[in-house]
Symmetry: C3
Subunit: 291 residues, 3 copies
């Protein structure tokens, strides 16, 4: 009989995420060990507690979740976790700070229902945030051409550098999207637009979106009205607006939750998984027939 | 099948209450998410984690408990919790900082066994503390006349204002109770005296209590000898001392514990309960035949 | 039916030990109440939450574990725990900061398989650390003669004073072990050597160990190569090297884990156990036939 499922929750925020804990319980975790305010130097002893307590097959009954509101800190913590393993003495771990990996996977999955990712040209608006970066990374990884949008072209270029560091051969372009003229240029010839900006800020008006005749998919990830893409409703889940399939934050959120739980369950299948953006998206694709 | 019962414990103290956690487990909570040192600005993301993770009927399988040693901070946290809800996106919540609501409900229930609350004149000694304030509030809400006692009449008046803000039409009087003469005047014509003062301080001598011929109930909430009311034993649970029914802290404590557990169980019956003093006392009354 | 098993984990480190939590789950604990950064003045309310919530036989379904990386702080916390009890209102508690009590019990048990502790002369190297102090204390308690070794004779003497304060009539000698000549003198006529020094530091070379013809047992508690005792492998578990039975850190670690779990289970059998070095070693001896 296998040991009780224990999840070590490592969170960069002072108060560890309740959201992540509730999802973990609903994915079958039996004991949560929740740690808030975790700094990189705290990580090794926490991880050692997971790998030196259960042996052999029982190692897969312990896993680690790295979260918090800041993805850069989460990435540093994930690196500290994997450094603390000793060869086969390891447990599975996933990173989902700010929900960015599971949200980006759900958004990219929505896009993939309508176009072939490898041959698609996409525009990501609000791409400098954690979710936007992850969406750009997944779209680039799939082989498409990605326009990384920000009001500041300099910040957009920084995101391109970050994505290129993870995806060799990525086809990326930094685009300024502050004005209507810049937006029109950025959107030209795109099949896909994804908005991942701040809550309550419209990044693209409905008329301008509809005026782009190559557009086939519009995904908005902002749950607080007004939505980031004019004319897209938070509940949209593939609703056709002319020839554009529309997705809103709540429409994508259901899929995000399924991916989040599937990733948590995956952690307990082996003791060697490291689930970051790409691995979580691959998992999402493998379960896509259910969504 | 319903989801596992999760209780988010929000505590104003740096180390969250073990007492509240043990009672929660014994009331059937399956997963505790314990947060200490919670400030009002921490509350919204914690609450969002409870309302954005489970939908529909499953919302009632998550609930929130607000505790800690300081009731004023607990009240502020409770307000922050209810502000963080979005319409029907809410879970049930109870406030019991310092155990004040459940203790005051148990004390008031003891009083109600012997007199008609609506037509009773009561004196609350040590009324400036968290439990005393809640007792005064419950007795006033039931329609009785309440004398709010403190060594400082000014502080007593502040409590009256606080109670009046919660109970419209409350019949309250601030009384100084520092000297024997003041105490005698304060006690005159009262049927009920409740002592909710600091541990180990006698507020009213046995002789003076027995000398008040209108008195029918005496409740002392101090568990550390000497008791607050002379001649009342911590174990008393309705023992008659002449014509006065006496209750001590432990005698009341058993009822308090039942009320505390019943309130916790109540949280998981619907997703919209907000349990403060009055709601917890109403619950206590509905289960009074068991006590 | 008994109540769910609750363990209050009091840890002196800011992030409470994951190691101790996982072992607790595997020993059958159903709910962990984990507290990090606990100072002595925090202890009383935490303990009161364990003793004022469940009555009678149910008190034995709650227990306390004191841990953290610093044994001196753990000892202070344990003292604060026992002070917070009220006569029979108490729960069982164990101290195992740094794993020192369970590791020392496992090391001493290994020694006892090969020699009669009461008539043995032992040298403890690296005796100033938490594990070394506990090993010296257990060997002295069993009646043997113990040489307490450190590079600094003054620090060794301080450890002797500490052990003597716990073990009346202890036969102790402080020895300097910084040079090969000092080591040779310290080892002379010893049947036992135990190394409890810092990770990755060889305290005694293989040749010098083998050159001691009275030696029968060598126990090394350092899991990071090079081991503290030259020629002893971390996996050794009674392997004979000439006439010397050798034990390495992992070889001892399996027994340590069994003792740790047995001590945790013992907590829930009565409500009055206080398990420090001696009690944990006695428990280890009673289960020794399994090891």
């Amino acid at each position: 009989m296998s040991k009780p499922k224990i999840l070590l929750q490592i969170d960069s925020d002072a108060q560890p995420s309740v959201f992540d804990s509730v999802v973990a319980v609903d994915a079958g975790v039996e004991h949560l060990l929740r740690h808030g305010g975790v700094a990189p130097h705290d990580v090794a002893p926490l991880v050692h507690g997971t790998i030196f307590t259960r042996g052999g097959n029982d190692l897969r009954s312990t896993a680690i979740f790295v979260g918090g509101s800041r993805m850069a800190e989460g990435e540093t913590l994930l690196a500290a976790v994997t450094r603390a393993f000793f060869g086969p003495m390891r447990v599975s771990v996933m990173l989902d700070s700010n929900g960015a990996n599971t949200t980006a996977a759900a958004a990219t999955l929505a896009v993939a229902r309508h176009v072939d990712l490898a041959s698609t040209r996409s525009l990501v608006l609000g791409a400098t945030g954690p979710v936007g970066r992850r969406v750009a990374r997944l779209l680039a990884r799939a082989g498409g051409e990605v326009r990384v949008g920000s009001r500041s072209e300099e910040r957009a270029r920084e995101v391109c550098d970050d994505v290129a560091a993870h995806v060799s051969g990525a086809r990326l372009a930094a685009v300024a999207t502050g004005s209507a003229a810049e937006l029109a240029a950025a959107l030209k010839h795109c099949q896909v637009v994804v908005a991942a900006g701040a809550a309550g800020v419209e990044l693209l008006a409905a008329e301008q979106r509809r005026a782009c005749d190559t557009l086939r998919v519009a995904v908005d990830l902002n749950a607080v009205p007004p939505t980031g893409l004019g004319g897209v409703d938070v509940m949209d889940r593939g609703r056709m607006d002319g020839q554009i399939a529309c997705y809103g934050a709540i429409g994508v959120g259901g899929t995000k939750m399924k991916i989040h739980k599937a990733a948590l369950r995956r952690l307990f299948e082996t003791n060697d998984a490291v689930l970051d953006a790409e691995e979580i998206f691959a998992l999402a694709q493998s379960m896509a027939t259910d969504n």
